[in-house]
């Protein structure tokens, strides 16, 4: 099946790397509920007399992942998030706008990869709640580059291309 001309949030994937940076082994974080990828460039004006139009340049990219993960002590992904929240350990994460392991799919998916700190873990505990942690992942000061990711998917065998930003 070729890729449809739309994408569904429920099929998107957040992965964490359980291998090395050079030879990643991507494990899907299963308990993710709401999730948002937020890339936003700072933009500084640099107008000149050459034009009356306000022009400028992109300077720094603010990139973060925000979402919710179900509290589940049996989920290795949740425990990795918790460990990073409690300490300074980073997680090599990759968010894609689809499921690269979907064996029925041929197409391309896009996303980002970076070594992340978990910087938030708010947990509402209402009387009627199934517990979720809100999380926020931000790029860490790491030797590894922050990259955009393009995944060429063919029958569940993705080929990833990482491009430094």
């Amino acid at each position: 099946m070729t890729q449809p001309n739309y994408q569904l949030g429920i099929k998107c994937k957040l992965f964490r790397n359980t291998g090395t940076f050079g030879s990643p082994t991507w494990a899907a974080v299963a308990g993710v509920s709401d999730f948002t990828v937020s890339p936003k460039w700072d933009f500084k004006e640099g107008g000149t007399r050459a034009s009356r139009v306000k022009r400028g340049a992109k300077t720094m990219l603010g990139l973060e992942f925000k979402g919710k993960i179900k509290v589940d002590e049996g989920d290795a992904g949740y425990l990795a998030f918790l460990s990073s929240l409690h300490g300074d350990a980073t997680i090599d994460v990759m968010a894609l706008d689809g499921d690269p392991n979907d064996a029925t799919l041929t197409g391309t998916q896009q996303g980002y990869r970076f070594d992340a700190h978990v910087v938030e873990g708010e947990q509402p505990q209402g009387l009627d709640d199934v517990l979720f942690d809100s999380f926020e992942l931000k790029p860490a000061l790491s030797a590894n580059p922050v990259t955009s990711v393009s995944a060429a998917v063919s029958a569940g065998a993705p080929v990833y291309t990482y491009t430094s930003i």
Binding site: K13, A28, A30, G31, V32, I69, K70, V130
Partner: protein, 160 residues
């Protein structure tokens, strides 16, 4: 083929109510029972005439689907229990007789299946808020001498 999730939940409710009744100070007698059913002919006078003992009928009411994570759904099954018993005494149904039945509904049925603090009736099953109890049906009580109460519980069922 395994039973539908909502039927598995109804079976779990049936088993839990029976266990709670057996453990109560007034366990079920030979004519009493708890059963999972699809329909009960309450409008049939002959059926009502033959009704004996206290009966708890457990019905599947509805279910739906709500994604709770990218890999897990909440099936949201709703279960209803009808608790029925005919009063054999002539003349007005005594308050004391009704008090025992309404206490049974609350303490054996409602508290057993609608309390999220208790051990889950089956894996992933959590009573949601909004459980309701109709304590009795006045018309059936007056004209049929039938105590009929209904407990309806909305569950969360996290699946798989």
């Amino acid at each position: 083929m395994a039973n539908a999730q909502v039927i598995q939940v109804a079976d779990a409710v049936q088993a839990a109510v029976l266990a709670a009744w057996n453990a109560s100070a007034s366990p079920p007698g030979p004519a009493d029972g708890v059963s999972r059913v699809y329909e009960v002919p309450l409008a049939d006078p002959e059926f009502l005439e033959k009704l004996s003992g206290r009966q708890v009928w457990v019905f599947p009411v509805e279910y739906g689907r709500q994604a709770i994570t990218r890999g897990q759904d909440d099936y949201r099954p709703k279960i209803a229990c009808l608790i029925a018993e005919r009063c054999a005494d002539p003349a007005p149904v005594p308050n004391s007789w009704l008090d025992v039945r309404t206490a049974f509904v609350e303490q054996v049925v409602f508290q057993t299946i609608a309390d999220p603090r208790r051990k889950a009736l089956m894996a992933g099953l959590i009573p949601d808020s909004g459980a309701t109890v109709d304590p009795y049906d006045a018309e059936l009580l007056i004209y049929q001498r039938l105590f009929l109460s209904m407990v309806t519980v909305q569950f969360k069922l996290l699946y798989p």
